[in-house]
């Protein structure tokens, strides 16, 4: 593992009963990379996220984040190390306001203990005010500044996806896992999302791994792709190369693939 590698996945395997959801998956994610994890439905992409983030224990293999081995560690510990995620099936705290959702993300880094929170000691009060202003900034960043007092459950679908990103950012990650961030968004929202994701990487230096079905979005945004099918890697590399891989085309048959682009490589 070279110093610039942020995440190394080594033979990661996950079995549910008789189903091999992820089959000895290996890849390395360098600092500041923007990688896409794609594949047809049921390929095991979200399971990979669950394994990386600690929601599901792997059956085999190892995961290293920076110098730490995080295989099978608890989700909150992995998050505190700097790995944050969003959820495919949006899992916001529905009854809480948009602002509170983001504030929850900051809680893990709160230094003040609960007694100083109850007594409102200066250390806690300062931290709380800081969290408030940072949360408002994060909401502005994803374009939800106006909606901070809205109940998260009442936001529109696309807005909920953006709020999930803001909440994940509040945990101050170095590596961000985005699970289908563009799902349910209209083309305009998707374009704005692409701009946002690129800004997160370019301006904040975040490393980003994302799952997405919108091929246009993925091909334009990601620098490298890993293609999964039935839990196995069937291709990896730059988008242009992956797009024309016969194995990938076969796996995606029936799914919209821009075959025309392959006939003129480099176009």
């Amino acid at each position: 593992m070279t110093p610039s590698d942020l995440l190394r996945v080594d033979g990661l395997t996950c079995r549910f009963g008789g189903l091999l959801a992820v089959d000895s998956l290996s890849f390395v994610l360098g600092q500041g990379q923007l990688m896409g994890l794609i594949g047809p439905n049921g390929a095991g992409k979200t399971t990979v996220f669950n394994l990386l983030a600690g929601a599901v224990r792997p059956t085999g293999g190892r995961v290293f984040y920076r110098e730490h081995e995080i295989t099978g560690k608890k989700a909150h510990r992995i998050n505190r190390l700097g790995l944050a995620r969003t959820f495919q099936n949006i899992r916001l705290f529905g009854e809480l306001s948009a602002l509170d959702n983001v504030l929850v993300g900051f809680h893990g880094h709160l230094q003040a203990n609960f007694l100083s929170a109850i007594l409102r000691l200066p250390g806690y009060v300062a931290a709380e005010r800081q969290m408030l202003s940072r949360s408002a900034e994060l909401l502005d960043l994803v374009g939800l500044g106006e909606l901070k007092d809205e109940r998260a459950g009442n936001l529109a679908y696309g807005q909920q996806r953006l709020l999930e990103i803001a909440r994940a950012l509040a945990t101050r990650p170095s590596l961000l896992l985005l699970d289908e961030p563009a799902a349910g968004m209209n083309p305009q929202e998707t374009a704005q999302l692409a701009v946002l994701v690129r800004r997160l990487r370019d301006e904040l230096g975040l490393t980003i791994l994302l799952i997405e079905h919108d091929m246009h979005f993925v091909m334009n945004l990601c620098e490298t792709l890993v293609v999964l099918d039935h839990g196995k890697v069937i291709a990896r590399g730059e988008p242009a190369a992956v797009r024309c891989d016969p194995g990938v085309i076969e796996a995606y048959l029936g799914v919209e693939v821009d075959l025309d682009a392959c006939e003129a490589p480099g176009a």
Binding site: A53, G54, A55, K74, A75, H76, N79, R80, A84, R85, F87, R91, L92, F93, G94, E95, L96, D100, L103, V104, G105, F106, H107, G108, H109, L110, A112, F114, A117, I118, L119, R120, Y124, A126, A127, E128, R129, Q130, M131, L132, S133, R134, E137, L138, L141, R167, A168, A170, T171, R172, R199, E203, L204, G205
Partner: protein, 364 residues
Amino acid sequence: MSRLSRWFDPGPLPAQSESRGRDSGLTVLGCLGAAALLWLIEAQGGGYVVHMTTLAGLFAVLAISYNLINGVTGQFSLEPNAFVACGAYVTALLTLSPAEKEMTFILEPLVWPFAVISLSLPVALVIAGLVTTLMAFVMGFPVFRVRGDYLAIVTLGFGEVIRVVANNAQSVTNGPLGLKGIPHLTNIWWAWGLAAVTLFVVMRLVNSSYGRALKAIREDEAAAEAMGINAFWHKMLAFTVSAFFEGVAGGLLGHLITTISPSLFTFFLTFNLLIIIVVGGLGSTTGAVLAAVLFTFGGEWLRVVEEPISFLGLDIPGIPGMRMVVFSLILMAFMIFARQGILGKHEFSWRWLLGLVRRRGGRA
């Protein structure tokens, strides 16, 4: 690096909101008003009204605490009777004089530390609260390994175990006979003073970053964990804080009704608290206070439907009568038709009240 990275570094602090000064002023006024009302009740109301008001205060404490773990944190548990029992026994054993204890414990002598000491009520209450907190802490390890229905059953089981222990550990609890002659030290000020402290502490906790974490666990535990929140320790926090106040309230309850026995701390007590927090709105701390008062006095009013007049108050379990039938129906009706309760997950706030007054004024 651009300005985007700013939330990683400390920066200038934002100003306080302007409505805070007004709200604190109104809260102080509200407290003074409540104190005046209590003073009036103590001076003018008969012994019975004073007793019921005191009881209402203790029920408010219990409901606020119970709601913290059940409503705010969303961990549906059924053990408060165990905590109240623990607090009541510990306090009584500490305040009774050694001579009285020797007279009470006829069958088996009382064990060592309790047999010789006699403490003042405040000290005894703090110790009882801490002992109850410790009990909750130990209980929390097995309890929070499970979720949902299982959590409910395991905590219910703990309540039963404590009751069985109280019945059998003669040398500590005096068995089924219980403790008699506990000095009547709890008055309206003790009860409502504790209620004020509990309300203050719990509201402060709920409205802090920790409170947001607790609510996040209620909404989606896995997502909260993914956001770096250690769900286990936060549940433990809510559980132990609620146990502390339930223990202290149990101590005051013992010194209000002066006789305690295991039959006082059955699941029936928990059931009453469950009705209160459901009616007040699961998750609403101020709703819990409101419902506790409604329940205590509403329960008295409901006596009309019951022919034989039973003695003392709601705290005596096993009253055969229609009142409990009505209570059960109320609980079911709230669950089926008005799951949000009176206040839902909202809290009473001055802004809401002033808005209401203004709207009324505008219409007139």
